[in-house]
Symmetry: C2
Subunit: 256 residues, 2 copies
């Protein structure tokens, strides 16, 4: 079982889009996959079509409070081999409530230990911040995928994220690896995309996925239908890119 956090404090870079569609692409290869929505915005939850009322009953906040076990909170995603631990706005309270708790950074890690052996991959969709929820995800994870929008501000934030990763590695999770930087919303028609892609490959040689996710409107349309793009429009370039990403990822860790 490999737990992968999908994190970047820069907002709107494609974290949720990567969690849902990489998850669906791994499931398509019949690798049992769990998505954990660690963001109080609950976009992974709504992007898979789960009703808000259902998410109010079964969500990560209930596990963090100890009112239910993770195994009882997981729901179907509508895609074979892909399951979901939903989020809900209640999770906003967790950031403040967790501050006082003992071993507050290891709560998610302990919760996921209950699941060992049931899944081949667990993907953690993180909120756009470096607060306690993201720290919990980075402490629970074996590795980290960093979606990076091919634009200026996204590049700026990378140094800060890598500092936080080093802090986590030194103090909480010595085994945390960087699975890779994933270039997203790449638009070959603009100079800015090309510039950022070149700079990232230069500075992070060896850490950048070969697969690049292009800007593709089908990726933005799919969540309004409550489906991954692989189900919504299997022939789209968005689908094919995430399938290629799953192939590259599995190729590295070795599928069963």
């Amino acid at each position: 079982m490999r737990i992968i956090a999908i994190a970047n404090q820069k907002g709107g870079v494609g974290k949720t889009t990567t969690a849902i569609n990489l998850g669906a692409a791994l499931a398509q290869r019949e690798l049992p996959t769990l998505l954990v929505d660690v963001d109080p915005q609950a976009n992974t939850t709504s992007g898979l079509g789960l009703e808000r009322a259902a998410a109010r009953e079964r969500n990560l906040y209930r596990a963090i409070c100890g009112t239910a076990s993770v195994a009882n909170l997981v729901v179907d995603s509508g895609v074979p081999h892909l399951r979901l631990l939903p989020s809900h706005a209640d999770l906003i309270g967790a950031e403040v409530e967790l501050v006082q708790q003992l071993a507050r950074e290891r709560i998610l890690k302990r919760l996921l230990e209950d699941l060992s052996g049931q899944y081949r991959y667990i993907l953690l969709d993180c909120p756009p911040s470096l607060g306690l929820l993201t720290v919990n995800a980075l402490t629970a994870a074996h590795s980290l995928i960093i979606p990076l929008q091919c634009e200026y501000y996204a590049l700026e934030g990378l140094a800060q994220l890598l500092k936080t990763v080093k802090l986590i590695r030194d103090n909480l999770n010595p085994g945390l690896e960087i699975e890779g930087v994933l270039l997203t919303m790449y638009d070959a028609r603009t100079n800015i995309s090309e510039q950022v892609a070149r700079e990232v490959r230069e500075h992070f040689r060896g850490y950048v996925f070969n697969t690049v996710i292009p800007r593709n409107v089908r990726l933005a349309e799919a969540p309004s239908h409550g489906k991954p793009v692989l189900t919504y429009d299997p022939s789209s370039v968005g689908s094919r890119s995430y399938a290629a990403l799953a192939e590259e990822l599995v190729g590295r860790n070795g599928a069963p």
Copy 2:
């Protein structure tokens, strides 16, 4: 003096782009304007070309800790009539440190009171979260601009943001008004943009700015040159849209 928060917990919707370019457009009308970067990502700070070393010395965190007064921390932006109170990654610590403080939600409001009379507009660029920094901005502000990317997830988050605004209005800042919802990154070629724009205008009748900001690559290029788009490419559609937004805003509040 009118203090306007630019907030939306959804990431990447154009908060920073609106703060910098609306600020520059107001300054172009010779209305003295201050930008306050309330986001630890410090994108407004880097988008105006301020070096990280300069921002380390002069930033909002120093004012929050009380080691310097706001008046001594404000710097030039490079644009006439536009000044900046920078941010720095140190501000990440403020969220946890402020939790224990008395009247922790009113700290920014008190700091900005020192400035009354020097500026016609103060714009607060918020981080992508509803934590203590955004709560401080909403408590200090007279009104709120909500940039809304014309996509599904951005629309989802609106209800949660309006709940938080009501909480702030009932408990901390009874005068907080909604200046308006600003549609951003509108792409007339895609159905999703049109769908979201129509839904927002239906549900929030009377609150949506007439000015719509189209997707325009010059807006994404300008920050890598450390300039607002109005300086980087004055004839671009991005520049003209933010100038139109400033005109619409000033028309409502009445310029001096």
